[in-house]
């Protein structure tokens, strides 16, 4: 099996590089082509990108373990990806896509800064987006180097470096288009793998009737299990449109039609993956009960009953790791270059928009990604002890963007002060309930912080009045975001203002 793992993974990486290099031709000519694929992503590229980034290596290895441990209590995770994610991603994504096209936004920080007329939110979101992403994607090569070593005996350092070199090569060369096209290839293989693993594990688990004959196949009716059932719905459902590595693609989609199809297809694929996790979890409970380290659930079960699937598991875990790593690296570079470097450098040098500035931005982005790659090498060989804790808080921290994005677009009453206070409170609560105290709900710190964040946003917005001009500017942006024409926009604004009656 070691021979086949090396052959399959080697062929896979060669194909990845070929697709990446072929798709990435000419991406370095302008910054928009490099970061957001010229805003021409179609529904297949959009959906596969979101699917493969969300269905990360951590999800394949770790989430299947959670389904194994908690069974149907994880149905909240299925609800998150089949209902909450598509609803919110479509609502926010379609609006930010229109605004991005109209006003040139490529990141959420640029949108938030303009929408709330707040430098604090612009810089806060940019710095947070870049800093919170880094530990998450940097541990990818570490985890996958370890996985390859466990599966084949391949030296850890060689596996981590191989992962890093391949991922860096096509991302630095071709930007988002190269990443999106490799995601299509990987997404198809991942779906086939889930299907094969499902069939094999259900058959070895004694068939559907047998695997469903378990207390784990019903949802907990009280206690921690029921709490987690509800927490997962919001926790996983709201994260997709907040997390920069998957959310920045909403700025890259061609039009509303492609956006709609993309969101729906990614939701269908994620829902299929989540249902597969549940079936896999229930099946492995029958095949191999009592696994203590749940991260090894899928690997242990396949090694026992279908060893021929192990090379495909390793290959798909590497592919998902690459999708997350490359998206994380590209979105971090996008945030750093567009939100931090460009405003600072262009103002200092008085550079006007044009080909020269674009080439400079792409060069800066490539150099920044190389710097991130070198930093990742350091993390691979000298991992700081706190890095795993940082990854645990990453998800919760990104979740704190959801009220100011979602309520900001949906509710006219939201104010700048409310948004600033809410986001700051959410981030502070997240850190407090992660490192200093336990969250009051007893579930996840990010969930409790999100609740406080939302309450603060609504309360401050209702209590503290705001300048009318600020409100009007925000309303003008909502009109563009909603895709209304001028006449309809005026009518909406007139009816919305009670003083005009």
């Amino acid at each position: 099996m070691i021979f086949w793992t090396v052959v399959i993974l080697g062929s896979y990486l060669v194909i990845f590089l070929a697709i990446g290099f072929h798709s990435g031709r000419g991406a370095g000519k302008d910054a928009e082509a490099f970061f957001v694929a010229g805003r021409k992503l179609n529904w297949l590229q959009e959906s596969m990108a979101v699917f493969t980034t969300t269905c990360s290596a951590g999800a394949i290895v770790g989430t299947t373990g959670l389904f194994y441990r908690d069974g149907a209590d994880m149905v909240g995770y299925i609800v998150a990806f089949a209902f909450v994610m598509p609803l919110t991603y479509w609502y926010v994504g379609a609006r930010l896509r229109r605004l991005g096209r109209e006003r040139g936004y490529q990141t959420q920080a640029a949108f938030l800064g303009d929408f709330y007329q707040s430098h604090y939110l612009r810089w806060g979101a940019a710095l947070a987006g870049a800093l919170f992403s880094v530990p998450y994607f940097m541990v990818g090569p570490v985890a996958l180097g370890i996985l390859l070593k466990e599966a084949t005996g391949f030296p850890y350092w060689a596996g981590a470096l191989l992962f890093l070199v391949v991922a860096m090569l096509y991302t630095v060369k071709g930007g988002l288009r190269a990443v999106a096209d490799t995601d299509i290839f990987h997404g198809v293989l991942l779906l086939v793998f889930f299907l094969a693993a499902l069939v094999v594990l259900v058959l070895h688990g004694g068939g559907f009737i047998n695997i469903l004959d378990s207390t784990k196949a019903a949802v907990a009716t009280s206690g921690h299990g029921m709490a987690m059932f509800y927490v997962w719905m919001l926790y996983s459902g709201l994260i997709t449109f907040c997390w920069p590595d998957r959310a920045f693609r909403m700025f890259a989609v061609r039009d509303d039609n492609n956006m709609r199809k993309g969101v729906m297809l990614s939701a269908a694929m994620m829902a299929f993956a989540a249902v597969s996790f549940l079936i896999i979890g229930l099946s492995v409970n029958k095949i191999l009960p009592g696994i203590k380290n749940t991260d090894t659930t899928l690997m242990s079960a396949l090694s026992l009953v279908a060893v021929w699937l192990v090379p495909w598991l390793v290959m798909n875990t590497w592919g998902s790791g690459m999708a997350t790593f490359t998206a994380g690296m590209l979105s971090t570079a996008n945030i750093f270059i567009k939100d931090i470097f460009e405003p600072w450098y262009a103002r200092r040098r008085d550079l006007l928009p044009g080909r020269k500035r674009d080439r400079l931005l792409v060069l800066a982005a490539r150099l920044f990604m190389l710097f991130l790659g070198l930093a990742t090498v350091l993390v691979c060989f000298y991992p700081p002890p706190f890095i795993w804790n940082l990854i645990n808080v990453t998800l919760g921290l990104f979740l704190q963007f959801s009220p100011i994005l979602l309520l900001g677009l949906a509710w006219r009453g939201v104010t700048r002060l409310g948004a600033q206070a809410a986001w700051t409170t959410g981030v502070v609560c997240q850190f407090f309930w992660t490192f200093l105290s336990k969250p009051p709900s007893g579930t996840m710190a990010g969930f409790d912080a999100l609740a406080v964040n939302t309450v603060v946003l609504i309360t401050v917005s209702l209590v503290v009045p705001e300048n009318k001009q600020l409100k009007q500017e925000r309303e003008d942006m909502r009109v563009v975001a909603n895709g209304m024409d001028e006449g309809a926009a005026r009518a909406t604004v007139t009816h919305a203002d009670p003083q005009c009656r």
């Binding site: 149905v75 609800v79 089949a82 598509p86 469903l212 709609r260 729906m264 549940l278 229930l282």
Partner: protein, 64 residues
């Protein structure tokens, strides 16, 4: 169609969200098939809800 989309989405979502309190549906042999059905209904309904409405002009076939 939009109304049916909204009804379908709401019913599918509510069915899953209220599972811990539903003694009839929250059973070992029911939850998994129910998830598959609700997810399918929910996704199709949401797709219907997000379809653009036909404009007055295209409905009447007149000049834009």
């Amino acid at each position: 169609m939009l109304l049916w989309g909204r009804i379908g989405f709401s019913v599918a979502l509510l069915t899953l969200v209220t599972l811990p309190f539903d003694r009839l549906l929250n059973r070992s042999f029911v939850v998994l098939p129910l998830c598959v059905v609700c997810v399918t209904v929910g996704l199709i309904s949401l797709y219907i809800c997000t379809l653009p409405e036909k404009s007055q002009h295209s409905r009447g076939g007149g000049a834009p």
